[in-house]
Symmetry: C2
Subunit: 330 residues, 2 copies
């Protein structure tokens, strides 16, 4: 018995997850753009967001939120974090009270700095909330490469049900109860990705790069623990795993921004030629705001933030970091 699934959001990751769910049970994908919805229904493809892949015939697409969600037994929210609340508000009137809402968005709500499951809790307080996260470049998963992720839910039975829904032989889904840790790690790891890219751009050695990534992850972990997460989640797939894929992938936008900053270029010039957003640029500010609220020191995030805002060069940031006396490791 497979649940009826509604995937909200027809971008590359939403389309990937919807395709997987549609192989086993009734699945509907909701999107805003008429031409994307029509193409999925009529030509079994989504050339705007997932070019070159055939989608399963069982997958239905719709622009009607009511049609997508009324029968759903699981809702997957594949909407970018800035639009998460507005879209979920549209869905809320149709959603049954008992079904799990799974966030696959990486990021915090602007201004409020709420995690996505906190937004779900505000709008649908009775529904179980979960998160799916990990090193999951959508194109690689559609292409059939092995990958792993964690599904986090406070209710272990719901976590296991969702594990069964998403996992396959090549897509390894582990369970955890640490919702906070997974969301914070996913939302903030791009700060470290920019720092790692910057190390490449400045041309520091392998020792230094390893130092910056390790200590960067350590300071994210400190913040995550202060926010109620668990340290080991940051050493797992949602933290270290996602960070590694980002730091090693030549396709990573955040790593690229860091590298270009490291070479001494200005943020506005880098962003202008990218035609895409590198979320880590904003994440530095969010991380520092959270660090302040929770009384946590984040020297690496602070220096990166100053470089991003043109206050100092990447080289000066590196010099600044080594002026702090080291103490105990943890």
């Amino acid at each position: 018995m497979r649940p009826t699934v509604a995937v909200i959001g027809a971008g590359s990751w939403g389309t990937t997850l919807a395709s997987r769910c549609a192989r086993h049970g009734s699945t509907t994908i909701w999107g805003l753009e008429d031409e994307v919805i029509e193409e999925i229904n009529e030509r079994r493809s989504n050339s705007r967001y997932l070019k070159g892949f055939e989608l399963p015939t069982a997958l239905r697409a719709t622009r009607s939120m009511e049609e997508a969600t009324r029968q759903a037994e699981v809702i997957v929210m594949a909407v970018p974090s800035p639009y998460f609340r507005a879209v979920l508000q549209q869905a809320a009137p149709f959603v049954r009270r008992s079904i799990p809402i799974v966030s696959v968005a990486k990021g915090l709500e602007p201004e409020s700095l709420l995690r996505m499951t906190e937004v779900i809790a505000e709008l649908l307080p009775d529904n179980p909330r979960a998160v799916l996260s990990g090193p999951n470049l959508a194109r690689e998963i559609v292409a059939g490469y092995a990958a792993g992720a964690v599904v986090a839910c406070r209710d272990a039975a719901v976590a296991e049900a969702l594990q069964g829904l998403f996992k396959s032989g090549l897509y390894r889904v582990y369970t955890t109860h640490d919702v906070v840790g997974v969301e914070v790690a996913a939302a903030l790891k791009n700060v470290v990705a920019i720092a790692a890219g910057m190390a490449d751009g400045v041309g520091v050695g392998d020792n230094t790069r390893a130092l910056v990534i390790t200590r960067g992850l350590a300071e994210l972990t400190r913040l995550g623990v202060a926010m109620g997460g668990e340290a080991r989640t940051f050493a797992g797939l949602a933290g270290l795993g996602d960070l590694l894929a980002t730091c090693m992938s030549p396709l990573s936008r955040n790593r690229h921004v860091g590298e270009q900053l490291g070479r001494g270029r200005k943020l506005e010039d880098i962003v202008a030629e990218m035609h895409m957003v590198a979320e880590g640029v904003h994440t530095c500010g969010l991380a520092l705001e959270l660090a302040k609220r929770h009384g946590v020191e984040m020297p690496i995030a602070r220096e990166i933030h100053r470089v991003v805002h043109g206050e100092i060069t990447a080289l000066q940031a590196y010099r600044g970091l080594v002026r702090r006396p080291p103490g105990a490791e943890t």
Copy 2:
């Protein structure tokens, strides 16, 4: 007040550490090879192990163990793990009971599988024992790049004294009491380095490589915790940090071996053209032996071991790994 230091071992890392200590206090380096000792004393260089760098004039070199150690207030053991016991046995009669012995060797004693501080404890049970480890490619440190390390000692006061001895503005030394964790992480991380190299060689995607490194580190952590270490040490400089430098450095021998195995080549052919040892090849066997003793599952180490020994191909190993059902992440 800087202590009088004896560095035992005149390889690249011993010479690097001795040079640093000699800038601040009386330091003697001990080595076996006449021409290396003479060159250090007469020409302030060690062209065999650290070509192209000038050593401080204050550094004295000797072949006499008695001369090196009799006045020492700290002894740094920079000897490869297979020779560690024999060399320390030579030193033992001259070593004062109260002075710290610092191991900088990465590896376990063959056959006994003892950690280096356990070897020290057998030979010099009254001396405080410590370990220094981290992502420390010697040439980068001599060249003045920033790097970090941890010094581990059960006695916090000794750890802090050693931190003061080794650290500089660009070489960041953190303290920890987790001696076991640091030694196990340092000794076994090359298993994961080979796995990461193999991922490159097979041509799996960035998701898969991130998955293998993260889960590989998780299984090392499980073993380390079973042996009495702490999980967070494995997420620190001696674990993750050292692993990252190894996985990212094009110079890493273990990564190279993994990559060539991933391309389907045979171990003997790879090793024959390297003229150097890649310790990770032996480490797989050690890790599995320890896993057996401590009742820990290590599926990644097991598959890597089978590839190294030609029982299966790297591609088969990857397929084998994804056949295991995933459970809870930790």
